[in-house]
Symmetry: C2
Subunit: 144 residues, 2 copies
Amino acid sequence: MECSIARALDVVGDPWTLLIVRDALLGVTRFEAFQARLQIPRATLTARLEHLVDAGILERRAYREHPPREEYVPTAKGRGLRPVIITLMQWGDEFARDDPPPTHLEDAATGRPIEPTLVDRVSGAPLTALRVRAVGRVVPRRDE
Amino acid sequence: MECSIARALDVVGDPWTLLIVRDALLGVTRFEAFQARLQIPRATLTARLEHLVDAGILERRAYREHPPREEYVPTAKGRGLRPVIITLMQWGDEFARDDPPPTHLEDAATGRPIEPTLVDRVSGAPLTALRVRAVGRVVPRRDE
DNA sequence: ATCCATGCGTTCAATGATTGAACTAACTGT
DNA sequence: ACAGTTAGTTCAATCATTGAACGCATGGAT
């Protein structure tokens, strides 16, 4: 499919991948660490890491020869997924929560809590306020 | 898992679900329309729609008796996924593109193109500028 | 009345992915 | 010599996904 979302989901559209990327962005780099944190089956983890490296989201990097050991660190493309993960977390907090969220975001400098919002970069107006229209493969809208 | 992202991915973490939700947010409501647009196998579509209704993301609504016909419309929870889909689309455009993106966003009132960015709602500062820290299940960070 | 089209599914066998548990291999530190 | 660390592989069992075909209620045209 030619759509950007479909191409994104080709890479990221399974239950584990985004959890791995989230942990990677939090600083996790090693096989054992991912496995222990996520409780992901080892074979699945192997497959996912392979896939993420192939897709250019993680980079395999030797951190020791003898025995050869490698760690996985996010590339720029991987770091680009941070907004996706943040908005997904927000949605989970807002719509699929039953207890207070275990993780929140704060400014590393001031310590103030951060509430991420999507705005238009140019006008600064929140997307919820604008009536956004998707142009290209349009289908008539009905309600909101 | 107790994390918001994991709970979100429980619902939305497969290759099809977000594509269905995207189409639903564009105004697609009917089984045949989803199937034709996405080329999704019919059995899979049945399962996904069921799941989305159970999760409270789509709502089944009769649009005709005799024969009973139902359509699927997004709930508030479903509409809440829009930022997720937008950021995912942006990532796909920026990092997984080879041709110009087929869909872009514009203000429905003025027609001006929109560039969605994540900012802190309070300070207005873009998240890329702040050094955001995830608090809760912390792991020491290394590089960026 | 008969025939075709529409709309929303179900059924089926085949293929593919995911799972958990156990195993391997190459080291290292004590 | 021996336990421990690290990053996997292997295997059989289960589960999900796929494509193709079928079902069924109806409406409209001939």
